[in-house]
């Protein structure tokens, strides 16, 4: 019974380890030191640089104030976000910046963090009991929609053949507000676009997904040549624009994105006529307004809705021509570090 004894010795060993090793020590920072914790969003692109690479603005701010700093990544995955919440509690964070693209688990996370009495600042996605910091997604959507509407009116006299609405339903309410808001905004300028011309599809905020999906829709509507594209982000609208280019040179495309990821810097797609910038990478500069008060022990009163925000970031609609002067997010963050008194909006949004 060599096999059996081996297994059982393993169990015995493990139980010993389990009984002896655990101490009541915690993994938290030294007592008395303020600890700022940041939960990053996840995949790059759909949620900007805050996706994967860390938040240099928050890190620098914490360092400047002599705070401990800790970062986790929600990976745009619900299960990971919940797991991270537990981690943040055990890390005894003093305050948490939460950027979670899977809002369906926010109630659970809120419950855990509330139990540990950790104040939370949420970016862009509202949750009762969390300080709301960010843009009003609906307003941002509408701003972009209006800008696109103007182009559609100017060029096609408000009569596009097709409006492609590139969703990323995984982003939940944000998606509904942004893409839905864009349609609303466009209808403000061109109220007579019939619902039958608006085709909603899943683009996942990713060119590689949005492109083939849009291609198939264009194939199913072969007579439609004047195409307006709205979507959750720039990638979500560039995909459909390219799909139209692939299917023929007779297509005319007006695409307007959100988040400004693909409108800044070089190599901008010619069909991307504009985008709405939020300067997500600079959000943490605003966050310190709230964080400083929390650290002082005088937290501001709860403002947890986009309509009643703790800090409202203004959306910045930018046409492709204006965007030529805006560098990519990494450069912007570096410049923000050089001008700590300003915000990215003040630095870069065209007047």
């Amino acid at each position: 019974m060599q096999k059996k004894s081996k297994s059982w010795s393993v169990i015995a060993l493990l139980s010993v380890v389990a009984l002896v090793l655990p101490t009541t020590q915690s993994i938290a920072a030294p007592k008395g030191k303020f600890k700022l914790c940041v939960a990053l969003g996840g995949i790059a692109g759909i949620l900007g640089t805050l996706g994967t690479e860390g938040d240099p603005v928050a890190k620098a701010g914490a360092k400047k104030r002599g705070w401990a700093y800790y970062e986790v990544n929600n990976k745009l995955d619900a299960q990971t976000a919940v797991k991270n919440a537990d981690l943040l509690v055990r890390q005894k964070c003093s305050a948490v910046i939460m950027f979670n693209g899977r809002p369906e688990v926010n109630p659970t996370i809120a419950k855990k963090l509330a139990k540990a009495k950790i104040p939370v600042i949420t970016y862009d996605i509202g949750q009762p009991g969390w300080y709301f910091l960010g843009i009003d997604n609906l307003a941002a959507g509408e701003a972009g929609g209006e800008a696109l509407g103007k182009l559609v009116k100017e060029k096609w006299n408000c009569q596009p053949d097709l409006v492609l609405q590139s969703q990323a339903s995984g982003a939940g309410i944000v998606d509904a507000m942004r893409t839905g808001g864009m349609i609303t905004g466009m209808k403000k300028i061109c109220p007579d676009i019939p619902a039958s011309k608006i085709k909603i599809f899943e683009g996942n905020g990713e060119i590689a997904v949005a492109q083939p999906a849009a291609r198939d829709i264009l194939a199913a509507n072969p007579t439609a040549k004047k195409i307006a594209v709205v979507g959750i982000n720039d990638a979500g609208v560039v995909g459909p624009a390219l799909a139209a280019r692939q299917l023929g040179s007779d297509y005319d495309v007006l695409a307007w994105g959100q988040d400004g990821n693909l409108i800044a810097g070089d190599n901008v797609n010619p069909d991307l006529k504009g985008s709405v910038l939020y300067f997500l990478e600079g959000y943490s500069a605003y966050a310190f307004e709230v964080l400083d008060q929390i650290a002082k022990g005088t937290p501001p009163k709860m403002q947890d809705k986009a309509t009643n925000p703790a800090v409202l970031v203004k959306p910045c609609p930018v046409s492709a021509a204006q965007a030529k002067n805006i560098p990519i997010d990494k450069v912007r963050v570096a410049n923000l570090a050089k001008n700590p008194s300003k915000t990215l909006y003040a630095l870069y949004c065209p007047k």
Partner: protein, 336 residues
């Protein structure tokens, strides 16, 4: 006619450790412990930290143990990840219609059993390749889960991909713990031990290992191979169904990403633990538990260090290869 000897010539090195790669894994655990000690300090062994590890080991362990039936029987079920997602979606959506929760859970698990049954019919009944069939099921159910999530009745977040349904009782159950031991983990571990007993000591265990180890030989020995394979597929899908319901309790929602890639991480851990997804009959639950534990422990180290998470995948991939290689050095199964 020399054929019967040929496979032996091919792998000159024989398995020395019939008990699975337990020792290799233990060595891995010791190494990670030392690394953690160096990086995180003694806090790495704190009850707090252990709780974190075990809390997120519980459900994958449960899923892995149920799925190990089909691995042992030689019919790998790749669709478990999707089934977790589907079960969660069905449960959560039904719960938004305010049906009895037990009924919802029952229906969610039943749904998974139904698809497990389809797996079984295709694999056992039609003799189709298990990897191909369950891969198809993986893709299909992932899609179906997303479709189901669209039918949720909750008004709170109209356009979420997932369905939000916070169930206090279930959440309390899934989050309950005894000191630093989460109850779910205790249950999963108890299940693992029972399973170890079943696999190593009972008639059914012997039969399932025989069917997975050598189908022809098992049939000739008069074992009901088809029935055993079929049940093993039902067990793995049922387990995924149960885990899906529990996930809803833990997360307060079903999410379209729930279970994505889970089959790969769970099976990677089980392979570290001595199971094989290409041939049945090898591996034991304790080894599987250790495999899952070593992965969870390692991710925890990365979490605690606050590493750039992009490195986590690099480390995990390397860890998988290193442990499997070490096991081969100790006489584990070689390829060709």
């Amino acid at each position: 006619m020399t054929a019967t000897l040929a496979p032996q010539q091919l792998s000159k090195k024989r398995t020395k450790n019939a008990g699975g790669p337990s020792v290799t894994i233990l060595a891995g655990i010791v190494i990670i412990s030392l690394v953690s000690l160096q990086g995180v300090g003694f806090a790495a062994f704190s009850t707090d930290n252990l709780f974190l590890i075990l809390n997120y080991l519980a459900l994958p362990l449960l899923i892995g143990m149920f799925a190990s039936f089909s691995l042992l029987a030689g019919v790998v079920d790749l669709s478990i990840g999707s089934m977790v997602g589907l079960s969660a979606a069905v449960f959560a959506v039904l719960a938004t219609y305010e049906l009895n929760l037990w009924l919802c859970a029952f229906l969610a698990v039943l749904t998974c059993l139904f698809f497990g049954c389809l797996n079984g019919i295709a694999i056992v009944g039609f003799n189709a390749n298990p990897i191909a069939v369950t891969l198809g099921m993986l893709v299909a159910l992932r899609g179906l889960a997303r479709v189901v999530n669209k039918y949720d009745n909750s008004a709170t977040l109209s356009s979420t991909d997932g369905t939000v349904i916070f169930i206090d009782g279930l959440n309390t159950f899934t989050e309950a713990s005894f000191s630093f031991l989460p109850w779910l983990f205790v249950i999963a571990l108890a299940f693992t031990l029972v399973l170890q007993l079943i696999i190593s000591k009972t008639r059914y265990g012997r039969h399932i290992k025989a069917v997975g180890g050598d189908l022809t030989a098992a049939v000739r020995a008069g074992l009901p191979a088809s029935r055993i394979k079929f049940t093993s597929l039902l067990i793995s899908s049922g387990g995924a169904g149960i885990a899906g319901v529990l996930f809803v309790g833990k997360m307060g929602s079903s999410s379209s990403t729930l279970g994505t890639g889970m089959e790969f991480t769970v099976y990677a851990a089980l392979m570290i633990g001595g199971y094989s997804i290409l041939r049945g009959g090898v591996g034991n639950p304790i080894g599987g538990f250790l495999g899952l534990f070593v992965i969870a422990y390692f991710s925890n180290y990365i979490d605690n260090m606050g590493f750039d998470t992009r490195f986590a995948d690099v480390f995990l991939g390397t860890l998988l290869l290193v442990i499997v290689y070490l096991d081969i050095r100790r006489g584990g199964e070689e390829f060709e």
